[in-house]
């Protein structure tokens, strides 16, 4: 199963975790064969939001999120099950300063039949 681990940090802790530590863990997960992708993100003030309304593209600065913890990076994994994904997520160094949300990747339902089988 594919899992997306979303890393959330408060702005105060954005740089609490040294890049070297993050890179080290990246290599470790890479070697395990479970890693599909992982990237850190720039802070929220560099974000631009796109919306399409009535066929019109609206581009705005932000978002100006009200939440305290903001998306700071992600790991996309191919793990056997949730327990394996949680083990990897717990090892992501920023988990010590913020939080990591683990979400299963959904398959698109195409052609009227469920591609996922027993749903």
């Amino acid at each position: 199963m594919k899992y997306l681990c979303l890393i959330y940090l408060s702005e105060a802790n954005w740089h609490s975790c040294p890049d070297e530590t993050c890179a080290q863990y990246y290599e470790e997960v890479l070697k395990s064969g479970m890693l599909l992708a992982a990237e850190p993100l720039h802070a929220i003030d560099t974000a631009t939001t796109v919306r399409v309304r009535n066929g019109e593209v609206l581009v705005t600065d932000g978002p100006f999120a009200e939440t305290k913890e903001l998306l700071a990076g992600f790991y996309l994994l191919d793990a056997r099950d949730l327990n394996e994904a949680l083990r990897v997520a717990a090892g992501i160094p920023p988990a010590r300063y913020g939080s990591v949300e683990v979400r299963p990747v959904r398959e698109l339902m195409l052609g009227g039949a469920s591609a996922g089988g027993a749903t």
Binding site: R87, S114, A118, T119
Partner: protein, 412 residues
């Protein structure tokens, strides 16, 4: 024994065991439940003619699996894009059967109590899938509408499927944390039944029994110190159940309970289990709380309780689990050992820290210590504060009674 009765007995004793194995073989709770019902339907049809098989559990598992495959094949004709996997074959060798089936029940418990599910979902799912309670029975016991509980169970099963919560006993490194989650569910179930007031008691006493049954099963499957400790703790608490309320349904505090009404069978078993738990490695807060409960039940009267030992046990408990509630209990034990003034100073210092400011039992304890120190006005004020913070009716009645007694003494 007639065949119908034989089937009934097997259903009561073994249906959840069969279910646990079918979940592993079919990889899905709902398919396993369907297969279980199909297997018992087949047993009702066939056993009267063929007789009860030598190994009814194995018969039901293989029949259930066969029926499930049959269902899948029939459904397949209607599913264009077939991604359904054939269910796993049962273990080829029956010699290993006991070990595998044994693990299936543990797998089921750990899956239902996975920390990725919320507390309410975990308790409902465990009672439904491990204990086999109906959704209606769970709803009645938790005083909730049945559709709420049903929806909670459906959502939990959906999360298990969609998020890929595995059907497995956690690895050794993760076992302590995951076991804590299982024990928490069992203790939540127990307390839900134990704290029920007398009026609703007949509906909810089932929960204390169910929790004890679950803990017994877990002791059998995974005899860790904390599992044994939790069973001991629940038995020792349950032994006092009958003496905790009077004929009017009012709460009787420990010091006023008729100790002859405590149930000696549960006490004896509880005491044996406390010793067993403390002799095992890795005991923790459940085993310690059981040890404290053991000192209480062994005392001939409240005054003759070994308060020094209880104080010592609370010291150790505080080191294992440094919570303000544990500190409060330790302060109360110290008050019994050294007198109310010493205890009151500790409780006041604790209340001043603020964490327990809205905890009714902290104010009730303060009220009690003031009363025993002879500070009448302060005691009455503390009882009133405790009353504003107490939601449970029996506890409110108890505090109101104490307050009235004091008011009568002042005016009289």
């Amino acid at each position: 024994m007639t065949d119908a009765r034989a089937i009934d007995t097997v259903y009561r004793q073994d249906s959840r065991r069969v279910f646990a194995t079918l979940v592993r073989l079919l990889g899905d709770f709902d398919r396993a439940e369907e297969a279980l019902q199909d297997a018992f339907r087949a047993a009702l049809e066939q056993w009267p003619e063929t007789g009860v098989p030598a190994n009814p559990v194995a018969w039901l598992v293989s029949t259930g699996r066969f029926k499930a495959i049959d269902r899948l094949r029939r459904e397949r004709r209607f599913v264009a894009l077939d991604a359904i996997e054939e269910p796993a074959a049962p273990p080829p060798d029956d010699d290993d059967e006991h070990g595998v089936l044994h693990d299936d029940r543990l797998r089921l418990i750990f899956t239902c109590c996975h920390p990725g599910l919320g507390d309410a979902a975990r308790t409902a799912l465990t009672l439904r899938e491990v204990c086999g309670l109906t959704t209606e029975a769970i709803a009645r016991a938790f005083l909730q509408p049945a559709p709420t509980v049903a929806q909670r169970i459906v959502r939990a099963k959906h999360k298990i499927r969609a998020a890929g919560i595995p059907y497995e006993v956690p690895a050794a490194a993760e076992l302590p944390a995951r076991l804590a989650s299982v024990l928490r569910v069992i203790y939540l179930v127990f307390n839900e039944g134990y704290s029920a007031s007398a009026g609703e008691h007949h509906l909810r006493a089932d929960l204390t029994d169910e929790a004890i049954r679950l803990a017994r099963l877990l002791v059998e499957l995974l005899p860790e110190a904390e599992v044994v400790g939790l069973l001991a703790l629940m038995l020792l608490h349950a032994s006092r159940q009958g003496a905790r309320t009077d004929a009017q349904g009012d709460l009787v505090p420990l010091e006023a309970q008729d100790r002859t009404r405590w149930r000696s069978g549960q006490i004896d078993e509880g005491l044996r289990l406390v010793e067993r738990a403390l002799a095992l490695p890795r005991w923790g807060s459940y085993a310690l709380q059981a040890a404290i409960a053991a000192v209480h039940v062994e005392a001939p009267s409240h005054e003759e309780t070994d308060w020094a030992q209880i104080t010592g046990l609370y010291e150790v408990l505080w080191r294992v689990e440094p919570s303000p509630v544990v500190e409060l209990n330790r302060a109360v034990a110290i008050a019994m050992r050294d007198g109310p003034a010493t205890g009151l100073a500790l409780v006041d210092a604790l209340l001043a820290r603020g964490e327990l400011a809205t905890y009714h039992l902290a104010h009730a304890a303060r009220a009690d210590l003031c009363r025993r120190s002879g500070c009448v006005q302060e005691a009455m004020a503390a009882y009133r504060t405790a009353l504003t913070l107490t939601p449970q009716a029996p506890e409110r009645r108890y505090l109101e009674r104490r307050l009235r007694e004091m008011e009568a003494a002042v005016t009289g």
